[in-house]
Amino acid sequence: MKLKGWKEVTPGAVITEAGSALKFKTGSWRAFKPVWIEENCIQCLFCWLYCPDMAVKVKDGKRAEFDYDYCKGCGICALECPGKKGNKAIIMEEEGR
């Protein structure tokens, strides 16, 4: 994408297009990546509830995969995850390992 020059930008950086935040893939900020371990998941959906970036997907009322385009790797889901019999259903892994 060709970047705009200073004569083309909107005065005051106003964004006149609704929903344009979708184009900003903030997942690139991530240092730690949440990994879902399905066999330990009790489908409580705490991760979906707590995620500040709507990066936990739910399909037909069931937990689906992470949306890594927008997950910044904050780790709240992993912290809140009750898991099953002491085994977490979400663990954080360092990116690039």
Binding site: P11, G12, A13, I15
Partner: protein, 392 residues
């Protein structure tokens, strides 16, 4: 047309605000501005103006509130002084960066410590790089006139930037002067209606304001902000021409007094310029060709025009009512930049005066002009930066 009254500078500007009838005013009291907003609040309370006044808990909140109201699409004003302006500092850059044409009278006051409530330009000079337009005024009449013109300059489609009108605390804000007020209807017509560019309240066109802009775009926005500032000069002159037609009072980018054939000159802002003009007259009577330049538009600074006006002088003293400790005063550095391009230029000295409301007396101006006459004769300078009116 209009009427002549005896009022203070604060009262004059409060009346200008009443006549402008802005949509929103969020302000916090601080001496010596308090009296202006108190009078304006009375106008609102008495139904003389329809402005919605919003009481806030600090100047930081006052400016934040103004930014919100201006982004919503309103015509917005506030007012402050000294430490109040300092507390607004963060938000000043938000207002200008978001290109919101807010109008703020600044009643110049010293900054602490030591605590001091009196006239001093340190407050507005501290905000000179905040992206606000700055107009400086000598007396109550100029404060009133510039207040009437301020929003027309700020809201111009080429500009869309916030604007300060500065006047000296107490010396102007609390002294009673002869002031010519325009008719309410004339000001209403002159100021006209305001149409904001991207109002948030236009709910049919949803938008986001104040986004995060990273290194890939930040500089483009700053460069475009500079471009808007570069348009201000022409807009100020056009608005001032229209104002002259209405009021008979003419304003340029700066005022010159007996400067055309002068050999020595003073450059000074605001109320001290009035005293200095008297001193210039007395030196002219003695056969010394003295003159004066009083800047009106300080941001953006009209370097070329000021340079042209001063280049023929032999020696010039720039009087600063604000200090930059360990450096020259803020006005001096601008004047030095203005005359720098010329091969033949005046010798330039800097005097710091009047800090914290210390009186500027005719004898101070005389001292400086005598020194300039000596410099013009000998070409020798003892000290480039010196303080006047201070005890050893």
């Amino acid at each position: 047309m209009g009427k002549v009254v005896a009022i203070t500078g604060n009262e004059a500007v409060a009346n200008a605000l009443r006549q402008i009838n802005p949509d929103v005013c969020a302000a916090y009291p601080i001496t010596p501005q308090t009296d202006m907003m108190q009078r304006f609040s009375s106008f609102v309370n008495d139904g003389k103006v329809k402005t919605e006044i919003i009481l806030v808990e600090s100047e930081h909140s006052a400016m934040s509130c103004c930014i919100g109201a201006a982004a919503a699409g309103g015509r917005v004003v506030t007012a402050t002084s000294g430490p109040g302006l300092a507390l607004m500092w963060e938000m000043l850059f938000v207002a200008s960066g978001m290109r919101l044409p807010i109008f703020m009278p600044v009643v110049n006051r010293a900054l602490s410590a030591p605590l001091n409530i009196h006239g001093d330009h340190s407050d507005a000079m501290g905000a000179r790089d905040s992206g606000w337009i700055q107009l400086w005024t000598e007396n109550a009449q100029e404060a009133y006139d510039n207040a009437v013109m301020a929003l027309l300059i700020a809201e111009h489609s080429d500009v869309r930037l916030p604007i300060m009108v500065c006047m000296d605390g107490f010396i102007i804000s609390h002294s009673i002067e002869r002031v010519e007020l325009l008719d309410d209807a004339d000001v209403k017509k002159f100021v006209g209606d305001y149409k904001s560019l991207n109002p948030l309240l236009d709910i049919n066109h949803p938008k986001s304001i104040g986004p995060l802009i990273l290194p890939d775009y930040y500089m483009e926005f700053k460069r475009s902000q500079h471009e808007a500032m570069s348009k201000v000069k022409d807009v100020v002159l056009n608005v001032s021409d229209d104002f002259a037609k209405l009021s008979g009072r003419k304003y340029g980018l700066f005022e010159t007094y007996r400067l055309e054939d002068a050999e020595v000159g003073l450059v000074v802002l605001n109320s001290a310029a009035g005293t200095s003009k008297d001193v210039v007259d007395s030196f002219r009577d003695k056969g010394i060709k003295a003159g004066l330049l009083k800047p009106r538009l300080f941001r953006p600074f009209p370097y070329e025009e000021v340079g042209e006006a001063l280049k023929h002088l032999k020696a010039v003293a720039v009087l600063d009512r604000a200090d930059s400790f360990g450096a020259f005063g803020p006005l001096y550095t601008e004047i030095a930049s203005s005359i720098y391009p010329y091969k033949e230029k005046p010798i330039l000295i800097n005097k710091i005066y009047g800090l914290g409301g210390r009186d500027y007396m005719p004898s101070h101006g005389e001292l400086v002009l005598n020194e300039l006459a000596e410099i013009a004769k000998t070409g020798k300078v003892k000290t480039f930066k010196e303080y006047i009116g201070v005890r050893e």
